[in-house]
């Protein structure tokens, strides 16, 4: 119970980091700090924080991309800090996967309350393996890299988006609209022709035999499914009850 909760604090302003850090530590949280986007993604993968507090105004990578990068493989709560009041920015951050958006200047008490609210929700640990290995290629969700044999396969952002969503839902059927919404954004849902183009692209790059897909399967009329051949029968030791 007394398990300390880990917070990843991403901000390039030393003042904020110090102030927040002191407060959080005093409250019994364990703090990890990162000063830019790459660092944040790396440390998140290393330390598996229970929550991330992320300043959008970072040098280097765009803050939104950091959110997407995290969301690729983890559902850790993300609270975004920003000086920008612009609504567009808020919506973009939230739709990218942020859980909350706080504009600076903010009250420390409020931020802490929002942090508590976020942590309260995340009771389930959900130990995932962010790296997936198949006989034909390897996908590292945290680092966003695909290797085939020993050489790296380069995917465009959209291609990666598709791979990511399908792999995260491994074995599960993902409907076209769900896939579109998750990769292109919530306002999409009908443009199934995009999918056809990009699925084909992905297969061309990853499938050993693109015209006969073994991993990225089409379920006609329903959606797509990622699956490692030979594993489906082994599913569900979880709570599945056999009645042989």
């Amino acid at each position: 119970m007394a398990e300390q909760q880990r917070i990843l604090l991403v901000d390039d302003e030393p003042g904020i980091v110090r102030a927040l850090g002191i407060n959080l530590k005093a409250l019994g949280y364990q703090i990890e700090a990162a000063a830019d986007g790459e660092d944040a993604l790396r440390k998140a993968a290393d330390h598996r924080p229970d929550a991330v507090i992320l300043d959008l105004g970072l040098p280097g990578i765009d803050g939104i991309d950091v959110i997407r990068g995290l969301r690729g493989w983890t559902s850790v709560p993300i609270i975004v800090l920003s000086v920008r009041e612009a609504e567009r920015e808020k919506i973009a951050a939230l739709d990218a996967g942020a859980d909350d958006y706080v504009t600076k200047p903010f009250g420390m008490g409020e931020l802490l309350a929002r942090l508590r609210a976020a942590l309260r929700r995340e009771l389930e640990p959900e130990a995932e393996v962010p790296v997936l290995v198949t006989p034909d290629f390897t996908i590292d969700l945290a680092v966003k890299r695909v290797t085939k044999g020993d050489q790296e396969i380069k995917l465009t952002p959209t291609e990666w988006g598709i791979v990511e969503v399908l792999v995260r839902n491994q074995g599960k059927l993902v409907s076209q609209t769900q896939l579109l919404k998750e990769v292109w954004g919530p306002q999409y849902g009908e443009e199934t022709n995009y999918l056809r183009v990009f699925i084909a692209q992905v297969r061309r790059k990853l499938e050993p035999q693109p015209s006969n897909p073994r991993y990225f399967l089409t379920e006609p009329g329903m959606g797509y499914r990622f699956e490692i051949p030979g594993s489906p029968p082994t599913r569900r030791s979880h709570l599945g009850v056999e009645m042989k």
Copy 2:
């Protein structure tokens, strides 16, 4: 697809309710409105919304108490609206169990984005949708997959729709019109010949002896019923999954 998500909208200002309601409906949400705290708690219990948008400035019960009332039995996402900028208020609401706090006036886009964020989180818990196992086949509703022995059975969207509705109502009789409406859409109800065709198709794929159905039973003149032979006398737990 695309089950409509239900939103409970609690506010005593008709203007806000109308504006929000129109927007939300246009986006495909199903709206329930309540004007005061008691009403809100009652309607939440009745309709089991997927999210609650709650104005703190209500007549009658204090908004904070509404939050507590809800949190007593549900973890539905609660987004609080308030004119009060006071930090004390925010902290109180968040610590009482609210998921988010938006101060009026707010941008519609932002609120909608926050709503999406809240709904997205709630979607995760993948509520233990049990796998249904029979001696002849296995149906995994979450993953949308049917296996017979060790090989996969491919179902078309309509076939799957029928199986899903019947299995969800396991043991219960589903009338023809109900089945038609649930699978084809609300404007259907008379086209019982569709059913004959697709039920036959399903039986051909799943029943060990299609001409003598053991699972997908016809209730002449009334409708259809899914049932696992040997189980009807005893009361099964929720979805036919048994604790050995």
